[in-house]
């Protein structure tokens, strides 16, 4: 079968690659400008020192660490969701997984760089190699993020191979790229077997890695004895938060690219509905964890903990705290639990609030604990500087640009998986259903029902 023929039915998926509109260049231009501005300010930071940020004593960590945690959190969208959906053989995953995986890979790269932005002496980063110490949670991070990045890139790449081969066969330019990356895929059954087997292995492997990454990031805080940080719940709390924000990010990306590239045929309301129910569940779960976290603190009533607690509840950080509750819980639950509002627009709005809320959550975790030192110091102040804002914007711009470029070179929806679905999944589902149900069903009945 010829690649062209295979793809003919799904031509829409290749439009973004083979046709470049004006808007693409505008978008790239805007993102590059933002990134260049951020890079310029970062250069300034390297030259004159971290003084250009708003950090000080005792608030010695600010936006960079907040964004680090936030971006790494979003990265959970991806691999984790796609792996879970694949593992649970949810058929509706097919158009979603690719996007999720791309988010993961790009955002991880951005997030992973944030600690370097945060270094006072980035030139000495090689000290990590020559005299790093594994007992520091920071190195756990380095290791686990590297591992996760490696795994998720591979996990993105392997299911991409058949699609690359399709592109190669369609003769899309740059040809050498697709030739190089397709690794000689020809779609033979044995190749399929090899690929599927590996994907399955990775799928199982990547879930614990992803969970561990965010757990370990929470350990950066939880391993210290600082009030508000030293908590056993932090690991799962961060993971839940990460998945939560990841789904929100995924939803936004899906909605945006569906609109931009006219993928309405592939991403249907049902996908959003399913995912948004997942988001709703995560929102409730997040709230549960938040509740647990703060209830124990409040009940324990340790003075130092309480200072941080009230700093968040009624002090300087109260607006952010309550905004977080609003964004992460009240709005999403209100929108998503109602069938009427659980439409694309509503979901988009809820996802945005969740992203903002989760970012606020990271801010609320990082800053108040530092701002309230234990001894008789005054409360610290933290007002982020233009550099920090610019680098935040830069990070987002890098993400968008990365996604855009990816979409420019590779299909955002796994073509071969869609085709595979068409070809074999009805049968498979029927087969599966039959194995679930108590009574023997005739194949015809199921087929009838499915049509």
């Amino acid at each position: 079968m010829n690649g062209n023929e295979i793809a003919a039915k799904d031509d829409a998926l290749f439009r973004s690659i083979e046709y470049t509109g004006k808007n693409f260049y505008y978008a790239v231009g805007i993102f590059v400008t933002v990134i260049a501005f951020a890079a310029f300010l970062y250069l300034g930071q390297i030259i004159s020192g971290l003084g250009v940020t708003g950090m000080a004593q005792p608030v010695s960590w600010g936006f960079y660490i907040v964004n680090f945690v936030f971006f790494i959190g979003i990265s959970h969208a991806g691999t984790l969701i796609s792996a879970i959906l694949r593992l649970s053989k949810a058929e509706w995953r097919r158009p979603i997984t690719r996007m999720a995986e791309v988010i993961t890979a790009i955002v991880l790269a951005i997030g992973g760089l944030h600690p370097i932005l945060d270094l006072g002496q980035p030139g000495r980063i090689w000290h990590l190699a020559t005299s790093g110490r594994l007992q520091s949670p920071l190195l756990w991070d380095v290791t686990s993020i590297t591992a996760y990045f490696a795994a998720s890139t591979v996990y993105l790449f392997l299911p991409l191979i058949p699609d690359i081969a399709i592109l190669r066969d369609r003769g899309t330019k740059p040809r050498w790229l697709y030739q190089f990356l397709s690794w000689g895929w020809q779609g033979t059954p044995k190749q399929h077997k090899v690929l599927n087997r590996t994907i399955n292995i990775l799928m199982i492997g990547v879930i614990p890695i992803a969970v561990s990454v965010h757990t370990v990031i929470s350990y950066i805080f939880a391993m210290t004895v600082q009030p508000g940080w030293h908590s056993t719940i932090f690991g799962p709390y961060f993971v839940v938060g990460a998945i939560f924000s990841g789904i929100a990010a995924l939803l936004i990306v899906m909605i945006v690219f569906r609109k931009v590239y006219h993928l309405e045929n592939y991403l249907k309301e049902i996908h959003f509905s399913y995912l948004s129910i997942l988001l709703l569940i995560m929102s409730l779960l997040w709230f549960y964890f938040t509740f647990c976290e703060y209830l124990t603190t409040h009940y324990g009533n340790e003075p130092d903990e309480m200072r941080v607690f009230f700093y968040k509840f009624s002090g300087d950080f109260a607006p952010y705290f309550w905004a977080m509750i609003l964004c992460n819980f009240i709005i999403p639950v209100a929108i998503l639990s109602n069938k009427k509002t659980r439409k694309i627009k509503g979901i988009l709005f809820a996802s945005f609030t969740v992203l903002i809320g989760m970012w606020l959550e990271r801010l609320i975790i990082v800053v108040p604990s530092l701002a309230n030192p234990r001894l008789g110091y005054p409360t610290g102040i933290y007002i982020p500087s233009i550099t920090e804002w610019a680098l935040f914007a830069g990070g987002i711009a890098v993400f968008m640009l990365g996604f855009l470029l990816f979409a420019k070179f590779f299909p955002l929806i796994s073509v071969w998986e869609i085709q595979e679905g068409r070809a074999s999944s009805i049968k498979e589902v029927a087969h599966r259903l039959r194995s679930y149900l108590p009574d023997e069903l005739e194949e015809d009945e199921i087929k009838k029902a499915l049509h």
């Binding site: 003084g51 608030v59 270094l119 006072g120 008789g376």
Partner: protein, 227 residues
């Protein structure tokens, strides 16, 4: 191997601030200027905590000089990714300036908030750099610094003792703060040697340590004031 420690008597400390000033001059700690200070970037290896207790007219004031507490179980050294800070054999929590990458994790982890960061390259008025203490390095921008118990003095004292072919004696090595304290509120010495002033003082009933409940085992002891 000695285990260096400090005892600060809050009873005799009058809060004059000489320890802090002596520390700044001795260790070439940068003076950051008003704008930076307003942001909270003042660098004090020896800080002063002032506590007011009670309400008018029954008020008590307590001045607590606060160097690095050189914990025996330091929360800061565990988290350092590059061993720029570690607990050395003599009980000093070392801060190796050329090794530090500036991640500030130790600052975040220190429950006593003793560390300062060079947000900018420390600068002195042109002519003044000649008067910096040549025994202590001037730090570049982007690294964390803190009280070292005036380690340069130990290095020199050890050499002096070696030249005279003898062991270190009590009083050979004293940090600038302890040396300059007008009221002798700060004593310094070997905590493991039961005969030293510090060992004697820290065994008294008045001795306490800051945030003892955290289990950091600071080697800076305080003596409660008595009225």
């Amino acid at each position: 191997m000695p285990r260096w420690g400090m005892v600060i008597d809050l009873n005799t400390c009058t809060g004059c601030g000489e320890c802090a000033a002596a520390c700044k001059i001795e260790n070439n700690v940068a003076i950051v200027g008003p704008e930076e200070s307003d942001m909270g970037r003042t660098m004090l290896w020896m800080d002063m905590l002032t506590e007011y207790e009670g309400e008018y007219p029954n008020v008590k004031v307590r001045y607590i000089p606060r160097p690095c507490l050189h914990c025996d179980e330091p929360p800061c050294t565990r988290v350092c990714p590059v061993r720029a800070t570690y607990l050395n054999d003599e009980g000093i929590v070392a801060q190796i300036f050329p090794q530090c990458i500036g991640c500030r994790y130790c600052m975040a982890a220190c429950p006593y908030t003793v560390k300062s960061f060079n947000w900018y390259r420390p600068e002195w008025p042109d002519t003044m750099e000649s008067a910096l203490n040549p025994d202590v390095s001037a730090r570049p921008a982007g690294i964390v610094e803190k009280c070292t118990f005036c380690i340069h003095r130990l290095q020199i004292a050890k050499e002096e003792a070696a030249v005279e072919n003898r062991d270190l004696r009590e009083g050979d090595y004293i940090p600038a703060c302890a040396e300059s304290c007008p009221t002798k509120a700060i004593s310094f010495g070997d905590l493991d040697d039961p005969d030293t002033e510090v060992s004697r003082l820290r065994r008294t009933a008045r001795a306490f340590r800051l945030l003892e409940e955290l289990g950091t085992e600071p080697k800076v002891y305080y003596l409660y004031e008595v009225e």
